[in-house]
């Protein structure tokens, strides 16, 4: 048996899914958090049944890729748990009626039930059950209220005889249902609502956006740098370094095996960034350089997501984004890209047209550095002075704007306009936020550490076999002639395909000037996506568009690197 969780966007399907199956999924306060489907299992009596978290949809007539996924899923399910936002009953019932018309057994979870009371909404549950002809269970997914009753009622899901109606007839039916079951009393605005309104007005919204941006930047740097200087650096330097030095002696101090495991040791000290052994840089880069930044970034992003700020930022950014061939909602995948480009490219599914998805995915792959790469930019470029970091970020921003402008004028078609629901601001639950932070940080470790260790191993072997030397001589005209980097720098570009953080680390031992480091970081950021992003791009864009996108990446990287080499 297969149970589908379906409902409008941002009504809490993913939270209910987690409650039912124990499978942790990312849930946020904006429409379109779930763009693919996740499945899990739950016990129903003696039976184990599959539960699927379906992307949110307003109707069964899809308008974007995420909604098409929802429609395809519907064909495969046996029972539907229709999650309904109790504070927006009328609009939510449209999908409910469509589901009933398709003769699927339905049980309704009337979620966000706790909000109805202080929003002055009274719903007569018995009458609603009677009008719909299916079980209706009030739930508060974030606290778990009503989950037991919901599970008990799954076997009672029913598909009452419902005539297939047209759109206007459906709305008329809904109107008569809500007239009978819902009573609304007037009440005053809360401060959260006032703040919400202020966030989408040009002046106050602009001020709020700048404040959010500035505090995000400050908080992320403060948390990540504190974690590094007070916890991780001391751990590596005082506890781990002596262990490595002992091990180095045991392995004889030199040789291929020694270099792979420990890396190069100079004058009796472990340089965790430059030594490039599995146990030195292989651990230091992911744990002490990148992880603190990941934790800090996702903590702040999670807070903004759960409060419900991102859709408001989309409204503010809409006019600018239109110049780049996108609309405001594309800011959400873009912001996700500052964490990791993989979920960012997936999140472009919330955009309506293929054109927008191509532009958004290409811009993200080129100009949006992931958290791992940013951590290394702060670590390595930041050492030479804050102004160099500013040049890297400033250049990426300018590239984002110019390239978006060019794509908007060259890619055929036009971009649709913004049409989004803006969720109310909600006070986030700390438990849910920390859980999401844990999922993302843990996800980084299990996905990145094996690849980083693999990359370090490959790098050592390729150096040993002198493969990089051969490539370096071949590519020297571009790498040295055009970009002004030492010809060995090409090794980093090659490894950039595996992981960009390790690749940037490879530039550290080359004794580059600050300018070369800036050019190197930028070319590495823009040149080509890492393998994980590459796979997702290929799947989401198709072979032809992926090739186009890759061509744009390589040209943009070489042009930008070449120009900076000339003017810096």
């Amino acid at each position: 048996m297969k149970i589908l969780l379906m409902g409008n966007p941002n009504v809490g399907k993913s939270v209910i899914f987690s409650r039912l199956t124990g499978v942790k999924v990312i849930a946020s306060n904006y429409p379109g958090t779930t763009v693919g489907y996740t499945s899990g299992f739950m016990k129903l009596g003696d039976e184990t049944v599959e539960v699927i978290d379906v992307p949110g949809t307003y109707t069964l007539e899809p308008t974007c890729e995420a909604e098409e996924v929802a429609l395809r899923m519907l064909a495969t399910g046996d029972t539907v748990i229709n999650v309904v936002d109790a504070t927006n009953l009328e609009r939510n019932l449209y999908l409910t009626l469509q589901l009933l018309e398709r003769a699927r057994p339905v049980v309704v979870a009337l979620n966000i039930w706790d909000d109805t009371k202080h929003r002055g909404i009274y719903i007569d549950l018995d009458k609603l059950r009677e009008s719909l002809g299916v079980p209706v269970i009030p739930t508060v997914a974030v606290t778990g209220e009503g989950m037991k009753e919901l599970v008990e009622n799954i076997p009672k899901a029913s598909s009452p005889d419902t005539p297939v109606r047209g759109r206007d007839e459906r709305w008329a039916t809904i109107g008569s249902i809500t007239d009978q079951v819902q009573h609304i009393t007037h009440r005053h605005h809360t401060w959260l609502e006032r703040l919400g309104d202020a966030s989408v007005k040009p002046l106050t919204g602009g001020i709020i956006a700048l404040a959010v941006l500035a505090s995000t930047f400050t908080v992320v740097r403060f948390i990540s740098e504190s974690l590094i200087s007070y916890i991780l650096d001391p751990l590596f330097n005082t506890l781990w370094a002596p262990v490595l030095l002992r091990l180095s002696d045991l392995l004889g101090g030199t040789g291929l095996l020694h270099d792979i495991v420990i890396g190069k040791i100079a004058s009796g000290e472990v340089n965790f960034v430059e030594s490039f052994g599995l146990l030195s840089s292989g651990l230091y880069v992911p744990f002490a350089m990148v992880l603190p930044y990941i934790i800090a970034f996702y903590l702040v992003l999670g807070l903004l997501e759960d409060i419900g700020y991102l859709p408001r930022l989309a409204v503010l950014m809409d006019t600018i984004m239109h110049r780049l061939g996108l609309h405001g909602y594309a800011i959400i995948p873009t912001l996700l890209g500052l964490g990791c480009n993989v979920p960012a490219v997936l999140a472009t599914r919330i955009l309506e047209s293929k054109r927008e998805r191509f532009i958004a995915a290409t811009l993200i792959s080129i100009a949006i550095p992931c958290a791992a790469l940013q951590a290394m930019i702060f670590g390595l470029v930041g050492e030479r002075g804050g102004q160099y970091v500013a040049i890297v970020y400033g250049t990426l921003f300018v590239v984002w704007i110019i390239l978006g402008f060019i794509l908007n004028h060259t890619v055929k078609g036009f971009s649709p306009e913004l049409l989004i629901e803006i969720p109310p601001y909600r006070l986030p639950s700390w438990r849910a936020m920390l859980q999401k932070l844990w999922m993302r940080s843990y996800g980084f470790l299990v996905e990145a550490v094996p690849i980083i260790l693999g990359a370090v191993l490959v790098i050592n072997i390729l150096y040993f076999l002198r493969v990089f030397d051969a490539i370096a001589n071949f590519t020297a005209p571009v790498v040295t002639g055009l970009l002004g980097l030492p010809k060995e720098g090409v090794a980093a570009l090659v490894i950039g395909f595996l992981r960009k953080d390790v690749a940037l680390g490879m530039l550290a031992p080359l004794a580059l000037s600050a300018k070369q480091l800036v050019v190197g970081s930028l070319v590495l950021a823009m040149f080509f996506p890492c393998i994980a992003t590459f796979v997702v791009l290929l799947r989401e864009l198709g072979v032809v568009n992926m090739l186009k996108s890759a061509g744009i990446m390589i040209s943009a990287a070489l042009i930008t690197g070449g120009i900076l080499n000339l003017i810096l």
Binding site: Y94, I121, A314, D318, T319, E417, I420, E421
Partner: protein, 80 residues
């Protein structure tokens, strides 16, 4: 009962309310707006609009919706 003044959503002032009378657009957009609760006969309030032909934010029932300028221009509202 005298009819109220009919203007487009983009012409409405911030804070004004009215009833949607017409959406001059193709089937696709009418359907999308309708799914978000914006359809003839519904009462809406304009909350804000962005500069330079930016999106308009409205309140419909207890939901807020942001609508691109071009779409908002196609929605005719009869003021209260």
């Amino acid at each position: 009962m005298p009819e109220g003044k009919q203007i487009t959503l983009t012409q409405m002032q911030i804070g004004q309310s009215g009833i949607v009378v017409q959406i001059q657009s193709g089937h696709g957009l009418v359907n999308r707006l309708s799914a978000l609760g914006i359809r003839p006969g519904r009462r809406i309030t304009k909350l804000s609009s962005m500069l330079m032909r930016g999106p308009v934010t409205i309140q419909v029932d207890r939901a807020q919706v942001a609508i691109g300028f071009g779409m908002a221009r196609k929605i005719t509202v009869e003021l209260d």
